[in-house]
């Protein structure tokens, strides 16, 4: 079924305006960026509420209840309050870097989401080297945390940022290797094409298409990306019980809100990447029965993508509220002594499988 015409819908619209002097490109870029920013901000705000509700359910309680129905406006109130809160800069802080730092992780989330195809006609940009671009953008977030911790002039912050520096750099390697595995088996680095290679039934998704390996890669990606996201159980960078609030110990008001939203923005980005690479992105879970498939395809791709992302995020949250946190050296050992060798083995096996054609038809 190759009816899907993936296009950049903003691009089409702007091109139709017929602006002179290359202004169309500029307008296109700005509109795209605004869309992504809107999606990330709204999504992150919603996710904060979802996270609080999920954790509440796991812990046999109700969660926010008093602001709006089921407390749905709770995180709106939080963000608003943080906006109008006094901003304190600690003595001896490097002011420029201190204010720059919170923007970087959020930027990273924007940049990643810019290339994710949300639907057949929903993608802000589609570079040919989509997968390497994802890997590159993933590396920006850690910078914000590192310099934020350093600029705060606080030992807890420094400890937290160094921890997260070590952790994120290590786990990025794993994430990169797994993305390379996907590139290898799919034969493309273009994310739109990557999604389209998974057309067909559910079994054509990369998580199932390479027997065994795809699933393993998917699970490993979830583990590595949780660590890369600095989320519990791998949240040693902001381990509250150990080092107060880690790298954002000295951030108040808006600075903290940006870090806070960036965590959820990156969560969306990470889940989006997983959905795109492993779960067929915006493709519906077709099962090969034409009547059912036709109904499934009638639902817009955006909905399927959102559902997949939501399921993945629920999984991330479920992890978070179940497990204790490994120690910093154990986390490093897990990466360098377990995940990376396994991932490299996976990559080699992927090469073997592709070469031998051991993939599902």
């Amino acid at each position: 079924m190759d009816y899907i015409q993936t296009t950049n819908f903003i691009g089409d619209w702007v091109r139709g305006l017929g602006l002179p002097w290359g202004l169309d490109r500029a307008v296109n870029g700005i509109l795209g960026a605004l869309t992504i920013a809107g999606v990330v901000m709204a999504g992150a705000t919603l996710l904060v509420w979802v996270e609080r509700k999920v954790s509440a359910l796991i812990q046999s309680r109700l969660g926010p209840m008093r602001v709006g129905p089921w407390g749905i406006l709770q995180s709106v109130a939080d963000i608003l309050k943080l906006l109008v809160k006094e901003i304190l800069v600690p003595n001896g802080a490097d002011r420029l870097v201190y204010f720059l730092a919170p923007m970087l992780p959020l930027t990273a989330a924007f940049m990643v989401l810019a290339v994710i195809p949300f639907g057949p006609t929903l993608q802000v940009a589609n570079p040919d080297l989509g997968v390497p671009y994802l890997i590159a953008m993933g590396g920006i977030g850690v910078l914000g945390i590192l310099i934020g911790g350093w600029a705060s002039n606080n030992k807890f912050s420094l400890l937290g940022s160094l921890r997260s520096g070590a952790q994120m750099v290590s786990y990025e390697i794993s994430v990169a290797v797994i993305l390379l595995f996907i590139t290898l088996v799919s034969g493309t680095t273009d994310l739109r094409t990557l999604v389209l290679t998974q057309q067909g039934t559910v079994l054509d998704w990369w998580v199932f298409k390479v027997p065994g390996l795809g699933l393993a890669a998917f699970v490993l990606y979830l583990i590595s990306s949780t660590a890369e996201l600095n989320r519990a159980p791998f949240d040693i960078a902001e381990a509250e019980q150990e080092i107060a609030a880690g790298y954002h110990t000295e951030y108040s008001g808006m600075g903290f809100a940006m870090f806070f939203l960036a965590e959820y923005g990156n969560l969306i980005a990470s889940a989006g990447v997983a959905a795109t690479c492993f779960l067929g992105g915006f493709l519906p879970p077709a099962i090969g029965v034409p009547a059912v498939d036709r109904a499934l395809f009638a639902v817009p791709g955006l909905v399927w993508f959102a559902l997949k992302v939501a399921a993945l995020i629920l999984g991330y949250m479920w992890f978070r509220w179940t497990f204790p946190r490994p120690r910093v050296d154990q986390l490093m050992a897990l990466e360098w002594k377990f995940l990376l060798p396994v991932n490299l083995g996976l990559l080699s096996l992927g090469a073997l499988f592709t070469a031998m054609g051991w993939v599902l038809p």
Binding site: L62, G63, A245
Partner: protein, 429 residues
């Protein structure tokens, strides 16, 4: 903050600007009131109730306040859960300053409101946390139930909803009035009031007596508690070595060691002592270390666990005529040892004479000295520091003899009987 504070000054003069400011006020107050993030700060008992209120049964997250922040930079609210003592004052002030404005404080429990159970005869508890940082809401109770905490939180939310950008948030003032004993104050006030009323009352009484010659006074009815049997205590169960054998063992090795307040005790009278009260030996200062080592190393005693160390000050209050009786041994240093092998406890005490010091520095000077037990039991470290802190007894050979509980700058030794402190107010009765 910052920019939005200037909003009323700019917008208010514009036509319709007042409504805009009002609308912004409503939104901002709504956000602030419903997103009060407390600081993780609990000192004692109330902290457990504060924790319980964030737990499933009560769930403070319904109010959006479950986000307990470990760093003051991200908190809006300090719930003062537990007693605030002198040593904590500077810490608390710093914490409060580190909170970004607008910031709120709830005083939870009677300790933080007024000193509560520690209001009298106490040298270290602050008599009301509002003497240190401004407090918005007071919740009495000891500790208040989680529901009471929520009630306080709701009061605070109401207070926040009345704020306006036209009146920017500022620190409320501190409670600076000097502490007056509320009990005495009430009694004095009542006395003056009674005196003022006395003439009129006397007149009324005379009139009443004239009018009701056969008045019978009202007799209140006593409510007796339910009758309970008067039970004698059954003989206690001792553990480990029987007292008699223990006594013989000790006396064989150290003939100069006697029982406290029972110097002439012999085997028979020791056997008759209640078995659940540990023997209490008196050791001459010269034999202190040797005796302690003997108790530890003698296998039939095997007093291997350092249970406790403390002291008693025997200084008597001066007689009504101001005369003091000098004591031969002002302090008793009491060591309590336990045998994890047998289960018995042995106490022994060393009488310590007072050093000669000038009278004016007697209250602040170290008055006695004994060898430290740290080489024998490392567990004696904290206990000896505590005894030094409380009684001013020096332990020679202690590796790190500093005050344990009181601040380094503290003057005097609280558990001495002649200790005085400006903050100490005597309890009536």
């Amino acid at each position: 903050m910052g920019l939005i504070q200037k909003l009323p000054a700019v917008v208010d003069p514009l036509p319709g600007g007042r409504h805009l400011v009002d609308a912004v006020d409503t939104i901002v107050n709504w956000a602030r009131a419903n997103s009060l993030w407390p600081l993780t700060f609990g000192t004692s008992c109330c902290a457990i109730e504060m924790m319980a209120s964030s737990m499933p049964r009560y769930d403070i997250s319904r109010f959006g306040s479950e986000v307990f922040r470990a760093t003051p930079r991200q908190a809006d609210l300090i719930i003062l859960a537990g007693t605030i003592v002198d040593k904590m004052v500077e810490v608390l002030k710093t914490l409060y300053e580190q909170l970004p404005g607008p910031k709120y404080v709830i005083a939870m429990g009677s300790c933080t409101i007024s000193g509560g159970p520690f209001i009298y005869d106490n040298y270290s508890v602050v008599k009301g946390a509002d003497r240190i940082i401004p407090v918005d809401v007071y919740i009495p109770g000891c500790p208040p139930r989680p529901e009471a905490l929520f009630h306080g939180l709701l009061l605070l939310q109401e207070k926040i909803k009345k704020e306006s950008l036209r009146r920017p948030w500022v620190d409320t003032t501190l409670h600076t009035a000097p502490f007056v004993n509320p009990f005495t104050r009430a009694a004095l006030e009542w006395e003056t009031q009674e005196k003022e009323r006395e003439p009129a009352a006397a007149e009324a009484r005379a009139k009443f007596a004239a009018e009701n010659p056969d008045f019978k006074p009202f007799k209140a009815e006593r409510v007796l508690p339910p009758p309970m049997p008067d039970l004698p205590r059954p003989a206690g169960k001792g553990a480990g070595l029987p007292h008699g054998e223990l006594f013989d063992l000790v006396r064989a090795a150290f003939p100069s060691v006697v029982l406290h307040k029972n110097e002439g005790a012999d085997r028979a009278s020791v056997d008759a002592l209640p078995s659940d009260a540990p023997l209490d030996f008196v050791v001459p200062p010269g034999e202190y270390l040797a005796f302690a080592r003997f108790l530890r190393d003698e296998p039939r005693l095997a007093l291997d666990l350092f249970f406790d160390l403390t002291a008693v000050d025997w200084e008597q209050p001066p007689a009504p005529n101001g005369a003091t009786t000098p004591l031969a041994h002002r302090f008793h240093l009491v060591v309590q040892l336990l045998s994890t092998v047998h289960g018995h406890l042995v106490f022994f005490r060393v009488p310590l004479a007072e050093n000669e010091v000038p009278d004016d520095s007697r209250k602040t000077a170290v008055l006695a000295e004994v060898p430290s037990l740290v080489p024998l039991w490392p567990g004696a470290n904290f206990k000896e520091r505590e005894a030094y802190d409380m009684f001013g007894i020096r332990f020679s050979g202690h590796p790190d003899l500093r005050r344990l509980l009181n601040p380094e700058t503290f003057e005097g030794f609280p558990l001495r009987k002649d200790f005085t402190h400006p903050a100490m107010v005597k309890r009536p009765y």
